[in-house]
């Protein structure tokens, strides 16, 4: 209330009381003057409460409205008293109207100043319901920072305050951390100014009203924060805060932070708002705690996933190594047995060559495992050279043609790019090995190579059993085994395709799979064709 208005009202009141007490018999003009004075004061009060009600929410708003109504009807009752003195002819009418105005005014003042608990609860409900409905969505917000920001906004809306802030307790550094926006307030120590510029404002427990509420673990209210806390007066002014409400955010024994609500003017009815702020802070605790649990669950999942990957790798590696090892051991023991039985028989060249071949297969598997475990970031750099993809494909096709399967090559006679020949050969071998493995005997595998729009294209098509549609998307993930985790269907194909994708990625290309279960599978590799700037000037 402006100072001048206050003093004028006081002077008017003094004059009225003095006039009524000293001048007898009371003239009509004095009565009317007093009525006019009280009506003016009450109408001014009505206007002030209506304005207050407009920027308030919930209980406060309703109480302001009730008080405004009470003031209006009190003004009416006083006006009627004046009219009774001026126009005595309608005495009964004035008496009835005067009583009615007084009763309505009294009831409204009662609701405004001393509303029973059940009425306050009913008034609080709509805002609280809105807050709770929205709070339920908050724990799933994408970023952790977004949650306090949303909570702040909702708390401010619910309380009808212009600004609310949440400080999160940093256990390791023993500070409450707020998000800072705007320009740093004046008279802040330099290190705090710097932190403020970076969007951080920190309080120690006990500092300002927020820190005190956190330390005391109970809601606090200060109608004149700058006066109650002169040390931080400049800060409060910089935040535009006159009245401050603060409540600790605590989940069980875990202190999570503090909720502060700033208002440019002190609300008249603080204890209700204090209760509401504590309610919102408790709700914020639930939201933050839920988020912490969600994050913890995600961490546990990630750990389990890492453990599963490790297990899968070992299982895939063991499986892939088993076949060559089985052949090596059996063939070596067979040779030994024959040599013991027939010392003079000529060397079994077929058997010895099989030993050499399987030992080589083992070696290349071990090298592939090393590639995979080094996991991309340490992948050996490509040794790019001028390579004809058509020639590599034709050679690979020849390697995989056997009595059981034939491999057909078609496409452009020459497709030249800057590739690592050994690695592309590895891709071709992996793809053809899968094609053979999953095709019935007599099936024709088709390799096509062509160039179009600056890209080299390579497809390997097999007439095999195909891949279920759900599995195609995940084929290139490390050690993918197909939708059923059941290892019985996993025949060592996961690692090979994963390696292929790594090599193709390293070349800046793409690999994808199209498959029709029961009809066959086509793996499509595209590689950039341009030689310029890559190699082979």
């Amino acid at each position: 209330m402006p100072w001048l208005v206050l003093r004028a009202a006081e002077a008017g009141l003094f004059a009225c009381v003095a006039g009524l007490a000293l001048i007898a018999p009371r003239p009509l003009w004095l009565t009317l003057l007093c009525v006019a004075y009280f009506c003016t004061v009450l109408l001014y009060a009505t206007g002030a409460f209506v304005r207050q009600a407009r920027w308030s929410r919930g209980v406060t708003r309703r109480r302001m409205q009730a008080v405004a109504l009470g003031s209006l009807f009190l003004a009416a009752a006083i006006l009627i008293t004046g009219l009774r003195a001026a126009v005595p002819a309608y005495e009964e009418v004035w008496t009835v109207l005067g009583y009615a105005g007084a009763v309505i005014s009294g009831l409204a003042y009662f609701l405004g100043f001393a509303a029973p608990r059940f009425v306050r609860r009913a008034w609080q409900e709509p805002e609280l319901r809105d807050f709770l409905r929205e709070a339920a969505q908050l724990p799933r917000l994408a970023t952790l920072d977004a949650i306090p920001a949303e909570l702040e906004q909702r708390a401010a809306e619910t309380l009808g305050a212009p600004y609310a802030a949440i400080g999160l307790w940093d256990e390791s550094r023993q500070v409450l951390r707020f998000r800072a926006t705007g320009t740093p307030p004046p008279r802040l120590p330099p290190e705090r100014t710097e932190a403020f510029r970076q969007g951080i404002f920190e309080l120690r427990p006990g500092e300002m009203i927020a820190g005190r509420a956190f330390m005391a673990q109970r809601a606090l209210f200060s109608p004149q924060a700058a006066r109650a806390d002169p040390q931080y007066a400049a800060l409060y002014r910089a935040f535009g805060a006159t009245a401050v409400l603060a409540a600790p955010i605590t989940a069980g024994a875990r202190r999570l932070g503090v909720l502060v609500v700033y208002a440019p003017r002190a609300p008249l009815f603080a204890e209700d708002d204090l209760e509401l702020v504590q309610l919102l802070a408790d709700q914020a605790a639930v939201v933050l705690e839920s988020r912490a649990l969600i994050d913890e669950a995600a961490r546990v999942c990630a750990r389990e996933e890492a453990a599963r990957l490790k297990e899968d790798f070992l299982s895939a590696a063991a499986h892939d190594l088993q076949t060559p090892l089985t052949i090596l051991l059996a063939q070596a023991q067979l040779l030994e047995r024959r040599a013991l039985r027939h010392p003079d028989a000529p060397a079994d060249l077929v058997g010895v060559r099989r030993l050499v071949r399987e030992a080589r297969r083992l070696r290349s598997l071990v090298l592939e495992f090393i590639d995979v475990t080094q996991g991309g970031q340490d992948a050996a750099p490509l040794r790019r050279e001028r390579v004809d993809l058509a020639i590599l494909a034709r050679e690979a096709c020849a390697r995989f043609t056997s009595e059981q399967h034939s491999c057909m090559f078609e496409g452009d006679p020459s497709v030249v790019g800057a590739y690592d020949a050994a690695r592309i050969r590895q891709v071709l071998d992996n793809l053809l090995e899968n094609a053979v493995k999953y095709s019935p005997a007599g099936g024709i595998i088709c390799v096509r190579v062509w160039q179009r729009d600056g890209w080299a294209h390579l497809t390997v098509t097999d007439p095999g059993i195909g891949i279920p549609p759900g599995d195609v998307l995940h084929l290139f993930e490390r050690f993918q085994r197909g939708t059923n985790v059941d290892d019985r269907r996993f025949a060592g194909m996961g690692l090979g395709l994963y390696i292929c994708r790594g090599i193709v990625d390293q070349h800046g290309g793409h690999i994808q799979v199209e498959s029709v279960p029961g009809k066959g599978t086509t793996v499509h590799v595209t590689l950039p064709l341009a030689l310029e700037g890559v190699c082979c000037a």
Binding site: Q322, L329, D487, A491
Partner: protein, 141 residues
């Protein structure tokens, strides 16, 4: 035909069906078994094996489990559906050989990579059970 056999050559050479998707494993196992005087026929997967069984009646089946086209589980189920009961020796990955053998009700298992002597011991044991009149394995037609 038979060369030397530690336990004496069988009276009549018995037929063994070897099912494995790796051609080199098939060939090595064939050579080992033929060296001991058995007759061997091979198949690259369960579907091929079922076709072989239409023509021949092996005394023993050596079965890899993880194979394309028709795996060991589906092969064993198809075999049972046809009422055939040759003894099965599961020959598969070390970590799961025993469990998988139990799953399909096989008479024995051998874990890859195996020792040659273990393979022969297992084969001889299963064949002697069959020929010694344990009726449960003779009933397939």
């Amino acid at each position: 035909m038979p060369e030397q056999c530690p336990l004496g050559p069988p009276q009549v050479a018995q037929l063994i069906l070897v099912i494995d998707d790796d051609p080199d494993i098939r060939e090595v196992v064939r050579e080992i078994l033929e060296g001991e005087g058995y007759l061997v026929t091979t198949a690259a997967n369960g579907a091929e094996a079922l076709r072989v069984l239409e023509q021949q009646r092996p005394a023993l089946v050596l079965l890899d489990m993880r194979m394309p086209v028709l795996n060991g589980w589906d092969f064993a189920a198809a075999l049972r559906a046809r009422g055939a009961r040759p003894p099965i020796l599961v020959m598969t990955a070390a970590q799961s050989a025993r469990r998988w053998a139990e799953e399909i009700g096989a008479q024995g298992y051998i874990a890859k990579p195996f020792d040659l002597s273990d393979l022969l011991t297992a084969v001889e044991r299963l064949l002697s059970q069959t020929t010694s009149g344990n009726g449960s394995y003779n009933s397939y037609n």
